[in-house]
Amino acid sequence: MLKIIFSVIARDLQLAMRRQADIVSALFFFVIVVSLFPLGIGPETDLLRKLAPGVLWVAALLATMLSLPRLFADDHRDGTLEQLALSPYPLGLIVTGKTIAHWLVSGLPLALIAPILGVQFDLAADALWVLTLTILIGTPALSGIGAIGAALTLGLRGGGVLLSLLVLPLYIPVLIFGAGAVEATVSGLGGDGHLSLLAAMTTAAIGFAPWASAAALKIALE
């Protein structure tokens, strides 16, 4: 059980390392989108501080989303996905591995760099900490839900835009609780409630989403 998950993670990480561009690009997309907002809105520190959680979260969401189309597409094109579907392990476990690898490559780096970007928005230390925490807890849910969308749109024309169309509505709860936790902290209300809801959603997504993705993949392979 665990072994196949680890094998998949190891392979996907190895691939990401070989390609390099993969990791760096999702991260820099995040950085760039976040940096665009002050440019669009103006440099007033007070205003920016208020926006920070929302902007960072929306950017994290978009960055994750943009890396989704390739989650299964490469394996699909070169026939690896067929082989994975034919392995004697449940496809859901394999998708779990791929989802975790996706998060390690596209979610975790966001959490690591978020504090630096938060500083650009002049966030206080505790808010920075909560922000990092929410992104750390929330992005696995984004990867999990996103995997379902990626599996559903695998091999379709215009799949990329279709994928965002499918996935964004499902991302909204994560966004609301993620940004909400930071705002609550900034305004002194305490973000614990939000955080535990976020954690609950992530747990549910990680447990449930891979099986939905696996079902969708089987359809895509027909």
């Binding site: 094998s7 998949v8 392979r11 070169d78 026939g79 067929e82 082989q83 392995s87 027909e222």
Partner: protein, 204 residues
């Protein structure tokens, strides 16, 4: 033993075949023939359980394959039109990952041995991107050297191979049949399999 009963295949508006049935016993090879687009690949994908047939039934050891997916997959080795290798990884890495996903862990020596057998000695550490088409195919075929699963499903395995490699692969398939394995394959080339009971099946 693999049995297919009364299979029907619809793609879009076309009925590719209907009422197709056969039995594949240990030591037997079915040689699937038909013009391009006749439905050979579609049939193979039905047999491995990726494409549900419009009607009809496929049984492995007497039981429908849908009901024993994981067990069936553990008994099955499929090689498709695509090589299922990653261009960024080396032959050795690709081979390891493929073995692991098939549930067979492999030590370094056995892996190097298999790669040497398919003529990739000295290229084990070169990313597959730099390999020629035929060498890429060989990386995929290296799995067959160590594979002991009873049922092989091979979709045009000889494509892109040179003459020596075609002979080598025919030997490998023969050995598999003599061990009591089963195989079903398609090919547009005429290839002589030296041993085992070879049967032709024509569709379309």
């Amino acid at each position: 033993m693999l049995e297919a009963d009364n299979l029907e295949c619809l793609r879009g508006d076309n009925r590719l075949f209907a009422g197709l049935g056969f039995t594949l016993a240990p030591g037997e090879l079915i040689y699937l023939q038909g013009r391009n687009g006749a439905g050979k690949t579609s049939l193979l994908r039905m047999l491995i359980g990726l494409l549900p047939p419009e009607s009809g039934d496929i049984r492995w050891q007497g039981e429908s394959i849908g009901k024993q997916r994981d067990e069936y997959h553990a008994a099955l080795c499929y090689l498709g039109h695509h090589n299922a290798i990653k261009e960024e990884l080396t032959p050795l890495e690709n081979f390891h990952h493929a073995a692991r996903f098939a549930g067979q862990d492999m030590d370094e020596d056995a892996a190097l041995d298999a790669l040497a057998q398919v003529g990739l000695a000295g290229r084990e550490d070169l990313p597959c991107r730099y390999l020629s088409q035929g060498q890429k195919r060989r990386v995929a075929l290296a799995r067959l050297v160590v594979d002991r699963r009873p049922l092989w499903v091979l979709d045009e395995p000889f494509v892109a191979l040179d003459v020596a490699a075609v002979d080598w692969l025919a030997q490998i398939i023969s050995a598999h049949l003599q061990r009591g394995g089963m195989a079903i394959m398609t090919t547009h080339q005429a290839v002589e399999i030296p041993a085992g009971a070879v049967r032709e099946l024509r569709i379309g």
